[in-house]
């Protein structure tokens, strides 16, 4: 998710009563890990996510769409790094 996010950067994720839209940065469960990517489009009950550094990112282009029930929440604040 470089350059938007850098290693060890803090983000605040809102996990309740969310509606999601294109452009939201979301956290979702993938292979037992909380993974963070940006929503590129939504379709019914799934989201297609893409990394902000697409050349290096492994995302929905590789592992397919993410079920909405696997989305943990969306990022509402990014703590700026020094």
């Amino acid at each position: 998710m470089f350059p938007t996010l850098k290693p060890k950067q803090d983000v605040l994720v809102w996990c309740w009563f969310n509606t999601y839209k294109v452009g939201d940065i979301v956290v979702f469960q993938k292979n037992g890990k909380n993974t963070i990517k940006r929503i590129q489009y939504l379709h019914d009950r799934t989201v297609f996510v893409l990394g902000d550094n697409p050349g290096e990112s492994t995302d929905s282009r590789h592992f397919g769409e993410v079920d909405i029930k696997d989305v943990v929440g969306k990022v509402i604040y990014i703590v700026r790094t020094k």
């Binding site: 803090d10 890990k33 963070i36 050349g55 492994t58 590789h62 592992f63 604040y77």
Partner: protein, 143 residues
């Protein structure tokens, strides 16, 4: 500032932007394109004609853009090589290709040297080095 401090006090969990799953998606093509771009920029820089009149602006603009592109793609080449070197190649590859580490090290050095110089021979060496890595990569894929 206050919000950032409050956030740091909240319980936190790690989230991963990189999947850390060995996804098998590697391709030396990106490094080859970057190396070819470095060579092309060196050739274009060598071809630049100094203006005969006082119109140096176009000349300087072109030179600057070519140098920036050379710099960017030399760096890109280095990064792509690093990904292949650290993430793709394994110890069994090293047994079959004992020159692997040295090849990568020299290619990475050439990336830096091509930033520092405008030298067509050096740029060609970079292209050759990256192509040799691509050949090893292709051979390991077929095995």
């Amino acid at each position: 500032m206050i919000l950032a401090t409050m956030i740091k006090l909240l319980p936190s969990k790690p989230v991963y932007a990189h999947c850390d799953v060995p996804c098998g998606i590697y391709d030396p093509r990106s490094a080859q394109i970057a190396a070819a771009t470095v060579l092309k920029m060196v050739q274009k820089l060598k071809e630049l004609q100094k203006p005969e009149d006082d119109d140096w602006m176009e000349y300087k603009n072109s030179m600057t853009r070519m140098i920036l592109t050379k710099e960017e793609h030399a760096q890109k080449c280095k990064e792509e090589l690093l990904i292949l070197w650290t993430d793709y190649f394994k110890s069994e590859h090293l047994k079959k290709y004992p020159e692997l580490h040295d090849t990568f090290w020299k290619a990475a050095k050439l990336c830096s040297q091509n930033k520092q110089h405008v030298d067509e021979e050096m740029a060609n060496q970079l292209v050759t080095a990256v192509d040799s890595i691509a050949d090893i990569f292709t051979a390991t894929k077929k095995a």
